[in-house]
Symmetry: D2
Subunit: 165 residues, 4 copies
């Protein structure tokens, strides 16, 4: 198995949502990636960079260009992008179209990591594993499955990812 370094690009999403106890609202502060990797006792050479910290429903074309640019420019050939689930499939399609020639895996969470019974740690373990094992290409790792970047969609009624356009 590869022991190449892995780049993790953080864009926000449910993964990193927190509860603002003074205003009773959800918000973004800092990413929980470092804490999650510590809990996981992860010993992969992971280099985390926060690109943005937003709800993926608010992600603009310019934001997606920034993700593409960072994937292309960074030294690493294996990249995990943490992303809100609502438009993850859309960003995956943009990355496919960009033709970057690296192994890029997008992942996210349905429940915030800070809230206890999150799926985030499972998804992070899944994404970090697929990114080591798979050849160049764009993938979405959700629900323990791995989808080709151009052929995946989120079912809005169930929250489950499935093959589709």
């Amino acid at each position: 198995m590869t022991s190449e370094p892995i780049r993790v690009l953080v864009t926000g999403g449910t993964f990193d949502k927190e509860y603002d106890e003074l205003h009773g609202k959800l918000y973004f502060k800092d990413t929980h990636l470092a804490e999650m990797l510590r809990t996981a006792r992860c010993r992969v050479d992971v280099r985390v960079r926060t690109l943005m910290m937003i709800d993926s429903l608010e992600m603009t074309d310019a934001d997606r260009r920034a993700i593409v640019d960072h994937c292309r420019a960074c030294d690493e050939a294996r990249i995990v992008v943490t992303h809100g689930t609502d438009t993850m499939a859309e960003t995956a399609r943009v990355l496919v179209a960009a033709g970057i020639g690296k192994t890029i895996v997008l992942t996210g969470a349905m429940i915030p990591w800070a809230f206890g019974s999150s799926d985030g740690l499972f998804n992070l373990g899944s994404a970090l594993s697929f990114v080591q094992a798979l050849p160049a290409g764009v993938y979405v790792a959700m629900n323990g499955r791995c989808f080709a970047g151009g052929r995946v969609r989120k079912d809005r009624d169930t929250g489950v990812f499935e093959e589709g356009a």
Copy 2:
């Protein structure tokens, strides 16, 4: 990515330890696999079977033969074995020697799933992903990494898995 069914063979280990509040001791009751897969919102076709529920320091040659037999006999070509970390490398070597011709990934946890900040969900996500992506062979998935079954050991002083014999 494969959408073949995956067999999960449960053998116990820290993964499934619980706290017995009447006697103040750790013990095994039932596996937490189903609960973990639910938390993970896992949609892979996973078939769980509990073979034993023991501390891996107490695993006998007969226990290891039972694991080998089940790996060989089951219908699935992709298998995850949950296992205590102390002798996981030893069982991996037995599975390598058995030459079964399937993709078999062993994984475990340093902290019990029931205790809150466990690495178990990360490792389960990792093992279920590697088992889908890798060719036939025996592997150990720990610390976000994947090791060849015959060349891995646990460093007893740090609890970290590394290449070695």
Copy 3:
């Protein structure tokens, strides 16, 4: 110490907020009181009744009359009211003015019980204890302290309860 039965009136508040994973929003479903009492291994004779399940910023005069009516009409002489923190002091003043002649303790939480590191279980333990130990009157139990119902306010900048009007 009294072993009289205790009435718990649930009105919602942060205590019972949950995360709606399909819409990424906070919402109310059912109260977590029974689950909290189970976690607490509580053996007090507690009778829970849900009056409403709302954010206390939306509590109307009619809602407060319903709380007063239930406090007056129920058989129990010792009552805990779970309540959002934003207008808890206001409801306490209404209860004081009603002159019911029972021991009534209001409590709540800054962090939802469902989110892991909540103050809710501490506050519930505190409220259930003060309600057993104190004479007739209206009280607010927050931050480990107990305030007279007519002389308490929440500091909106810190989220801390303190004496004041």
Copy 4:
């Protein structure tokens, strides 16, 4: 309600047990009291002192004398003692016999605080509340109830505290 300072004397017990991931055993390191008070957003003037960090089955007569001495000597008139549940009733009787003339509340937990779904935070909230509200005497606060120090026992089969000698 009193706003006097409260002394908390830590003696260990399940409250403070942790999981040693290298050896797969339970052990004591530091007390979690400060972390628990932070989670609770507690604003009572609490002064914590660790006297010992042991399983209460190993508590000796000399240990109990140390607890009595500290209760008598400290400046505070209101004291919470965190204690293993197995011999909590015995220490309570020793404190009763010592006739110290302060309000002393013993409490503990059935599940370690570090393990997620602990009763510890509830019991701490309960003990800190009873100790503020009750007159001088020795009490045990468990299961949401408060028992006179000389007339309480733990039912070993259920783990529940009840009146008895």
